[in-house]
């Protein structure tokens, strides 16, 4: 089993979390062009890389942001999603 160490919660089994996909910068809905919007919704570089991702801790209902490499599966950073992040990628 894989474990991850979180602020406040300490060491938790990864199976307690639900994956919420990668963090991406949402374009401004008022001014965005159709192309930029579909790029945001659908098109991406899916090659192996280090990503910021949403992870939801079910028992406590807390959203976290993990920095994780999609080739090695190493989690290198864990933070509360609602701290200091204003929808920024």
């Amino acid at each position: 089993m894989k474990f991850v160490t979180c602020p406040s919660l300490g060491r938790r089994a990864l199976s307690e979390f639900t994956y919420g996909g990668r963090l991406e910068k949402e374009p401004d809905q008022e001014s965005v062009s159709e192309k930029a919007w579909t790029d945001y919704v659908f098109y991406r570089n899916g090659a192996p890389q280090t990503l910021k991702e949403w992870w939801y801790h079910r028992p406590t209902g807390i959203w976290f942001l993990f920095e994780r490499n999609t080739l090695t599966d190493r989690i290198t950073q864990v933070e509360f999603a609602n701290r200091g992040i204003e929808n920024e990628a």
Binding site: E34, T38, F42, G46, P48, T70
Partner: protein, 413 residues
Amino acid sequence: MPLRLLKYAWKKSEDEPRFFPDETPLKKAYDVVIIGGGGHGMACAYYLAKEHGITNVAVLEQGYIGGGNTGRNTTIVRSNYLTSEGVKFYDESLKLFEDLSDDFDLNIFYSTRGHFTLAHTDSAMRTMRWRAEVNKHHGIDSEVVDVETIQKEVPYMDMSCNGQHPVMGALYHAPGSVARHDAVAWGYARGAQQRGVEIHQKTRVTDIKTKGGKVVGVETDRGFVEAKKVISMVAGSTPRITEMLEIETPIEIFPLQACVTEPVKPFMDTIVVSGSLHVYVSQSSRGELVMGASVDPAELHSTRSTLDFVEGLTDQMMDLFPFTSRLKIMRQWAGMSDITPDFAPIMGKTDVEGFYLDAGWGTWGFKATPVSGKTMAYTVANDTPHELIKPFSLSRYADFKLVGEKGAASVGH
């Protein structure tokens, strides 16, 4: 086939010819380079040579033939999809599958079993009725059946699922089949090679070169080769190839795992799938139960196996087939699934002239091997998409023309 076996038995020496000839050096230039020697790549090479007379073709495979998802899948072949586009496409594949053993003069062990997709909820029953109607409209043998019918066909199944989620009915698809995956790749590969195609194993494409927006060749770990046209048929490695050309796609890679039990006496000749429990099972000709589930929870470019998967799967499987609690798991493995948001493939031309894509096969692309090869060969030979794959273009997402296939493809096969 039996005649050939007899002839072989009377011979004193073992002079059966090698299946594939020894490795040759790469040529300087090819008309077509296919990246990926899985079933799709081999089938495409085969049809390019056989139906379009294009034989100056090289298939470049970084590992060995069929060593990707082709050799890792649970081999379920069916056409009872949800969308018209999907049903027509997969039905064509099923028809091609039925003749492959003869075409190849090689037994692919194509075995028609009948396929049950169980429904445990009202909403699942609704999807089954919907699928049955779409299927029948296209002349596919597909119907909703009741609990008694299922119990008769699959006598060892606990229809109450341990009292947890009773089976309410199922979609039954008589043509549902299994086949020997390796033989499919080998048959296509040998057929292509006999017609002049070159297959280079242990040859990895490291870059794709363009000039003025047009493909000119590929860089490999054995040097540069010129190519007028390049087709990417690499399933779980697709994003690494498209990145070379800065092409963005909606594809994300998720591991998909499977496992088999020790062999037991034949007791179940049908394929059983439960969408609600996220599991499926069939019994192989050796007697093993071949089992699979949904993809792993998060994006990952890896073929590692996990205990979480086996625990989750066997937990559900024991509700369906209580006696399996006594069986041992013999092997488990994983492949990399190239998942799209609408659970339909991405096929055809791209914005880069001479570069073609066959991808987004996720957890369901083995059954598409023949038809993908055939339609991609047509598309490349004519530089225009085959009618059957027009709905699957990479640009469909930008046009918001998705092919909502999730209701029929979200469990791993």
